[in-house]
């Protein structure tokens, strides 16, 4: 409320409002100030102050400070409705921010748990792998049944190892504080092709020059490895063909990895990057549904984007951005 001090001079009342503004009101016949003029003035000053509060509140919300609440008047007018709306919006956002923080904490704990579990499983799985090899070596070559069982056990062991390694890679893919260095994507691609013997399974063609950018090198290798692996694993052609293309934009490069595979049905496209999601799980024994989720995690942890373009029967293109920023 405005503070009001009255000074009477002859037939004129001078009002000193809120220690700031003077208002001169003609006096009523009985000597009192003209209340209608006074009310109109005070109302306009009050409205200005309410609008200022609303603007301040918008500023607070914009800077993600949801602790503030505006006082509403007893007029229940449009300004009160706006103030109430902003109070409610702030309250809802605050609840959601708190919920998200709790969820992030739980997710972080789960990721740590997954990493620890996968890490602890790695060692016994390696021992098991070694024992199976020894068993195979010492087996009577005529015992075909036992040989078949050992083969099956080795396949199961391989699959478990892939799963454990995938979970380990996925757990570290989401780390936000990745160290970046100057990486040549051409070198990364060559390294993956050589180490993984990609040319035994696919023809890889590059159009344009792959850029040099700031990225975590290990993570970059994982991205390229998983995308190539995905194209090879799901290929339905006699020879898998992979085309890697670079498209230079204003502030980033768009790198696309396109295959000549079966393509991905529209209904699966939205979930393709979700952990443990597989388009055709029964058909691909070596797939565990972690690779593309890991790629997305790495790309997003670097502040970049990845998306898919695909039509069934016409192959699939995975396109991701890499910033042109010249500093880590």
């Amino acid at each position: 409320m405005l503070k009001r001090t009255e000074i009477q001079v002859a037939n004129t009342t001078m009002l000193w409002l809120s220690g700031q503004d003077f208002l001169i009101c003609n006096s009523e016949p009985d000597g009192s100030p003209n209340e209608a003029v006074l009310c109109e003035y005070m109302s306009s000053v009050d409205d200005d102050s309410r609008i200022t509060n609303i603007l301040d509140m918008i500023g607070s919300i914009a800077s993600l400070d949801f602790s503030r609440q505006i006082e509403t008047s007893d007029r229940h007018d449009v300004l009160d409705a706006i103030a109430l709306g902003l109070n409610m919006l702030s309250e809802e956002l605050n609840v959601r921010v708190v919920d998200k923080a709790k969820l992030d904490e739980v997710n972080a704990k789960l990721e740590k748990f997954a990493y620890t579990t996968a890490h602890d499983l790695k060692s016994p799985l390696n021992s098991q792998y070694g024992l199976l090899q020894l068993l195979e070596l010492n087996l009577d070559p005529n015992n075909r049944e036992a040989s078949e069982y050992i083969g099956r056990l080795q396949n199961v062991n391989e699959k478990m190892k892939s799963l454990v390694e995938g979970i380990l890679a996925y757990s570290v893919a989401h780390l936000k504080d990745v160290t970046r260095e100057e990486v040549d994507w051409h070198d990364i691609l060559n390294e993956v092709i050589e180490v993984d013997s990609v040319s035994n399974h696919a023809d890889v063609e590059v159009t344009g020059k792959l850029p040099v950018t700031y990225f975590n090198r290990t993570a970059g290798i994982q991205v390229i490895r998983n995308l190539l692996d995905n194209a090879i694993k799901y290929s339905n052609k006699q020879r898998c063909k992979i085309l890697i293309d670079v498209n230079s934009q204003d502030d980033c490069y768009q790198i696309s990895v396109t295959d000549n595979g079966p393509g991905i049905p529209v209904e699966h496209q939205e979930k393709i990057f979700v952990l443990f999601n597989q388009v055709e799980p029964s058909l691909k024994a070596s797939s565990v549904g972690i690779g593309l989720a890991t790629v997305k995690g790495i790309i997003e942890a670097h502040g970049e984007r990845i998306w898919l373009k695909s039509k069934p029967g016409e192959g699939a293109s995975f396109i991701f951005t890499i910033s042109k920023k010249s500093t880590p």
Partner: protein, 125 residues
Amino acid sequence: MYRETSKIKFAIGDDNILRTECFPDTVMTLEDGQESTRISAEMVNYQPLPLLCDLTNVVKMSQACRNHFSGPEHAKTFSKCALIVTNPISRVIGNFFLGLNKPLKPTRLFTSKEEGEKWLKSGMI
């Protein structure tokens, strides 16, 4: 059947619609919301009925209260809900309720009781 609390008036008519209306300048808290649901459930004898809720006199509704009204307990008590909003404040509350709290039962805003009643009666046996 008629009941009231210090903030809300409840009435069930022959048309089997529960009508609620608040006293002027009502501030609704979670406790008020819970009490309102409890009384309503007793009045409808735990058999879901349509609700015509006039928000005109409500000047504030807490986040927890909105959450309660959009939750399972309220959805068990009412089959559908027509919210009557006749001024800027009640419109804001109603729109928040529908937009952010997403009630589990069918809920719509109306600017007149007649429209709300018409919608509530549609599909009633």
